[in-house]
């Protein structure tokens, strides 16, 4: 990582204080979607708490990986940071500037500095636009000086950066494979030399052998352009590979956050533990010997999240006290390692063990039978 860190610091603006190299600061961010009922009256009968109070700091030149299952609010969080989704409460600061207070015009000019890479390149690229037109659009929209001639040059430069031939400019998205399309999406995101790029599942729609190409490209671009990434993904192996800091989300809240190596070496939150034990490893020896923590049931509805710790309904380490009635606050148990669990130390030290009865679905069945 030394090369990357060096590149990261090289691109960093002179930092006076420790806080100055935080590019993105999110505090208490909430995104609630109203649930409407009724044809005429349009009553609001409740809220889906997609994101429910998230804090995060993203340093310049670093990559923050956000993992979680579908429906945990990770994509909504990414979109809310860019104000593609209007947050209900909280604050988002990009380089000290309050993103949520901006008017339309100011927001538009700030979008130059924050861009997004979407999951499905087929649906995020206009099939009727040529690649050149796709890549020129952000330049034109933000009035990049130089006019068409300079824009064309920039397009060729962008294609070169993402590893596509110059001839690609005249072609249309359907003529490319999935990996190449994702390269076009990445080229569009970096066209305006943004500071922050939010990448929502950048590789999950791609073939296995192609995923690695795109992951490498993202890392290369970070070195070259000094980008800061917020990467949203469900694949923990990919996130671990590219992230400096990883946050684990469950039902709208970040339950654990730590530097990547630390998190994967010493996961503390029971949800992180079960998530990691659930990931198949392409090595039979590992697969045969590892101990699995199987979770029961599905993600509860974010419209009506469980009381206390949101994970307590599925937690194999659930205790009789505190878990169901007291919301666990994030605590720093190791340097930069923040966990929101009442019993994290006990789980770590093995004083609290996973109850087998509660996490083995077939055992429950057998009990019912008996």
């Amino acid at each position: 990582m030394s090369a990357r860190e060096a590149a990261g610091t090289a691109s960093t603006r002179p930092a006076e204080g420790t806080d100055d190299d935080v590019l993105l600061r999110v505090r208490g961010l909430q995104v609630h979607f109203p649930i409407k009922k009724g044809l005429l009256l349009d009553r609001t009968v409740g809220h889906v708490r997609a994101v429910d109070g998230v804090d995060l700091d993203l340093r310049r030149g670093q990559t923050y990986g956000l993992v979680g299952e579908s429906g945990c609010g990770k994509s909504t969080l990414g979109r809310a940071v860019l104000r593609l989704e209007e947050p209900t409460a909280g604050s988002v600061e990009l380089d000290g500037q309050d993103v949520l207070a901006l008017g339309r015009g100011e927001l538009r000019s700030l979008r130059r500095r924050m861009q997004m890479v979407f999951q499905d390149p087929m649906s995020s690229l206009d099939p009727r636009q040529s690649v050149e037109s796709i890549l020129t659009e952000p330049l034109r929209a933000h009035g990049v000086p130089g006019g068409p001639a300079a824009w064309r040059e920039r397009v060729l430069e962008l294609l070169e950066v993402v590893g596509l031939p110059a001839s690609a400019a005249a072609r249309y998205p359907h003529e490319f494979s999935g990996g190449q399309r994702q390269r076009i999406g990445i080229a569009r995101a970096v066209a305006l030399s943004p500071d922050l790029v939010v990448a929502d599942e950048p590789v999950s729609a791609l073939d296995v052998s192609v995923q690695a190409q795109v992951v490498n490209l993202l890392e290369e671009l970070q070195d070259r352009l000094g980008l800061t990434y917020l990467v949203i993904a469900h694949d923990l192996a990919v996130v671990r590979h590219i992230s400096d800091v990883v946050g684990v989300m469950y039902l709208g809240v970040v339950v654990e956050q730590a530097p990547s190596d630390e998190l994967y070496a010493n996961p503390l939150h029971p949800y992180t533990l079960s998530l990691m034990s659930a990931i198949p490893v392409p090595d039979p020896a590992v697969e045969d010997s590892r101990e699995r923590i199987l979770l029961t049931g599905d993600l509860p509805s974010p419209a009506n999240p469980p009381s206390g710790c949101r994970f307590h309904t599925r937690c194999p380490f659930r205790q009789a006290t505190r878990c169901h009635d007291e919301v666990p606050l994030p605590r720093e148990l190791a340097p930069d390692h923040v966990v929101a669990c009442h019993w994290a130390e006990e789980v770590r030290d093995g004083r609290v063990r996973a109850s087998s009865a509660s996490h083995d679905p077939t055992a429950v069945v057998a009990d019912e039978r008996a």
């Binding site: 192996a237 590979h241 659930a278 990931i279 599905d298």
Partner: protein, 363 residues
């Protein structure tokens, strides 16, 4: 764990069920030289599957691995006889417990499907009927293939849902697919597939649409079913992690042909084909040191050569040379690798000590 299944769940007299017993150790499914061509008027036929052979024994899980377009799903559809008759040509032989399935009368094949062999598809939302309650969809299979009455079928459906881990099955029987979560839907689909205790279960990417924690639950369920009932399973997937955890033997496909076949440990320990090797190297791993760049396979699965001219993987292969332009590259055993480990490669990756049988060129 036979005590988990009450005897009532196994209707003793069932016409068509378990008619042809396969001896232990012998393959239940035997696919030989399977070829599938899609024909279209005014266009060259497309060869999607080319000379694929594989076998699955009872109680065994065979993994079929490949990227999109490798022909793995078409292979499974051909085995089930689900390819459109007008636009596809299937050649070769598919035997289920000794009975040839290719060319079988559609009615007889339909009687086998759901009863002797069943399939779990990738996307449960599009393979369940959205306007029919789950319960009806489960009992439908039972009522078609067995002569249980309505009430008994209902009880058995409830029991099936409970066995696949759906809580409160009696209530769930009345639910429509959209009322179930993704994991529950996939379980319901598995319950339907298992309703008649098929001897062959084909699972086409059964967990790809699911979250990891739910995936772990479903895989565990499949593992138990195979262990308990001796079902033969053909698992189609692109996820090497799933293969490593669940499969006994693995067949790797590329562009319609089998490029490597080995036991699970062999394949992951000593991948011989350069494609398998590249695939394993390109996957980020949870237990590998962080920070090294990944080693991707260059190009895309669409950069192909036709097998009739050369190795289809050659355009993406770092070891390709003139020897790869051999139209007769055979799936063969390699010196230094145990019998049963086959690869179709001119320059296989081999342990240091061993040399390839024919090609002397250093790989």
């Amino acid at each position: 764990m036979p005590d988990r299944r009450p005897p009532s769940a196994v209707p003793s007299a069932r016409p068509g069920g378990g008619a042809v017993p396969a001896p232990e150790g012998e393959a239940l499914l035997e696919v030989r030289d399977l070829g599938v061509e899609f024909v279209r008027r005014g266009a060259e036929p497309v060869r999607a599957v080319d000379g694929v052979s594989l076998s699955v024994r009872p109680g065994e899980v065979r993994g079929l691995v490949g990227e999109s377009g490798s022909g793995k799903s078409v292979t499974s559809l051909a085995v089930m006889g689900l390819l459109p008759r007008r636009s596809s040509r299937v050649t070769g032989s598919v035997r289920l417990a000794g009975t040839e399935l290719l060319g079988m009368a559609p009615k007889r094949l339909a009687a086998l499907r759901g009863d002797q062999m069943a399939m779990v598809f990738q996307d449960p939302m599009s393979s369940l009927n959205p306007v029919v309650p789950i319960g009806t969809q489960v009992t439908e299979v039972l009522r078609t293939h067995t002569d249980v009455d309505r009430a008994a079928a209902r009880d058995e459906a409830e029991d099936l849902l409970r066995r696949v881990g759906i809580p409160d099955p009696r209530r769930r029987l009345r639910d429509y697919p959209h009322q179930l979560s993704g994991g529950m839907r996939q379980r319901a689909l598995i319950a339907i597939a298992l309703a008649c205790k098929p001897r062959l279960l084909i699972a086409d990417e059964p967990t790809t649409a699911l979250d990891v924690t739910i995936q772990a639950q479903v895989l565990e369920l499949l593992r138990q079913l195979v262990g308990e009932t001796g079902t033969a399973m053909l698992l189609i997937t692109h996820d090497l992690g799933v293969v490593a955890g669940l499969c006994d033997d693995v067949t790797v496909m590329y562009s319609g042909r089998v490029v490597e076949e080995a036991s699970r440990r062999e394949l992951f320990g000593r991948p011989a084909h350069r494609y398998t090797e590249g695939l394993l190297a390109s996957v980020p791993r949870m237990d590998a040191p962080r920070g090294e760049p990944l080693r991707p396979i260059p190009g895309t699965p669409r950069d192909l050569l036709p097998w009739s001219r050369a190795c289809a993987f050659a355009p993406r292969c770092a070891h390709a040379d003139r020897a790869c332009a051999d139209p007769d590259l055979a799936l063969r055993e390699l010196q230094g690798l145990p019998a049963g480990h086959l690869a179709r490669c001119a320059h296989p990756a081999l342990p240091e000590s061993a040399a390839p049988v024919t090609a002397g060129v250093g790989a």
